[in-house]
């Protein structure tokens, strides 16, 4: 990545979509694609797509377009999907189990090592081959196994305490599903999935259809 300047968050949040469509093209055996074709698929403009990609390098070729496999691979590297990450889940209720069971994450290199909960009825159970452990063991487990990503699927009341455990155990990133804004050190990356906010946005547009732009 031979670049000096920050790439804006709006660009970065578009990358996974490019990556997904390129994966689909790859599976279909298509080996070249133009920015215009990517535009038709993603809904972003061709110009924007070229601008976005050129934040990271010139992956295309004039008169030809982009090589699907090459661009897919490059975007995978840019997104850090060429590595394997060790993760744990705090909160082994339905949502935690749903995340643990979602094969797509493992395929993308996010390996879940264990789930943790404080509910004695859950501790000891297995989700696939993953044991649910006592949350009291969470900190030690992270340190021993060099876990990098901590997932939070607890109720919001417990989210900050889990974040504190993650922080002191040296976790690098937190994927937070609790409807709360966590306070952590600046060097920890937080990515929130705020389902409430998503649902409320849907609700807004149901009541204000004229504001809705189908993109």
């Amino acid at each position: 990545m031979d670049r000096d300047n920050k790439v804006s968050i709006t660009v970065i949040r578009r990358l996974p979509k490019y990556y997904r469509y390129l994966g689909e093209l790859l599976r279909k055996g298509i080996n070249r694609v133009s920015s215009q074709e990517l535009s038709n698929m993603t809904g972003f403009t061709a110009s924007q797509i070229r601008q976005d990609l050129n934040n990271f390098g010139g992956f295309g070729q004039q008169g030809y377009g982009y090589n699907v496999e090459e661009l897919h691979t490059q975007l995978g590297k840019i997104l850090g999907l060429d590595k394997v990450y060790k993760t744990v889940i705090a909160g082994a209720g339905n949502l935690g189990q749903a995340v643990a069971n979602y094969k797509g994450f493992e395929d993308a290199g996010f390996k879940i090592l264990s789930l943790f909960d404080k509910n004695p009825k859950l501790i000891g159970l297995k989700i696939r081959d993953l044991e649910i452990r006592d949350v009291d063991e969470l900190a030690d487990f992270i340190v021993e196994n060099e876990v990098e990503i901590g997932i939070i699927t607890t109720p919001k009341e417990n989210a900050q305490e889990i974040a504190d455990i993650y922080m002191k155990s040296g976790i690098k990133g937190i994927w937070n599903f609790a409807p709360a804004d966590l306070k952590v050190n600046e060097d920890i990356i937080i990515e929130n999935v705020h389902l409430n906010e998503s649902l409320f946005t849907l609700s807004y547009f149901l009541n204000n259809k004229s504001d809705y732009v189908n993109s």
Copy 2:
């Protein structure tokens, strides 16, 4: 809502956060708040907050700030949270069950009437008091019960066929958890929760910390 022009999606996606913090203030018994205090809580600038709110009306009072209860109520109305919505869930696996079990949605007025699946082992089971029904009954159920919101928590392979059922049954909005872009009529509101994209964004920032701005 006495306004003529579209409010931009970036504004609308900030409203649920304001609403959440106002709810917290309300529960704490605090009855006034300034844009500066909201700024400290949410991380948005005071100026931006005032601009955002003034898209919908002048809810504040010079020299005083905003009345918490009043603003909370107004934002609730703007977001359409003063109504009850009838919803169904297609896909009764872990994720569907997680959504069905999440009390926060029901509290906000999103009433889940039933779950649907095609797996015979799930059909007939109950999640809380909600029966899991055969997906073959989905279309009729929606029509009979005037369901407005359809939730999709199926694998991506089945997402479009569910969307088609929703569309022909007169659903108004779709909350889609499958990693796919659904094709539906323009008058149907779609809100996607693309967990993959969120996770990949986290992955990007883990590998490009200098791009990360903790907001």
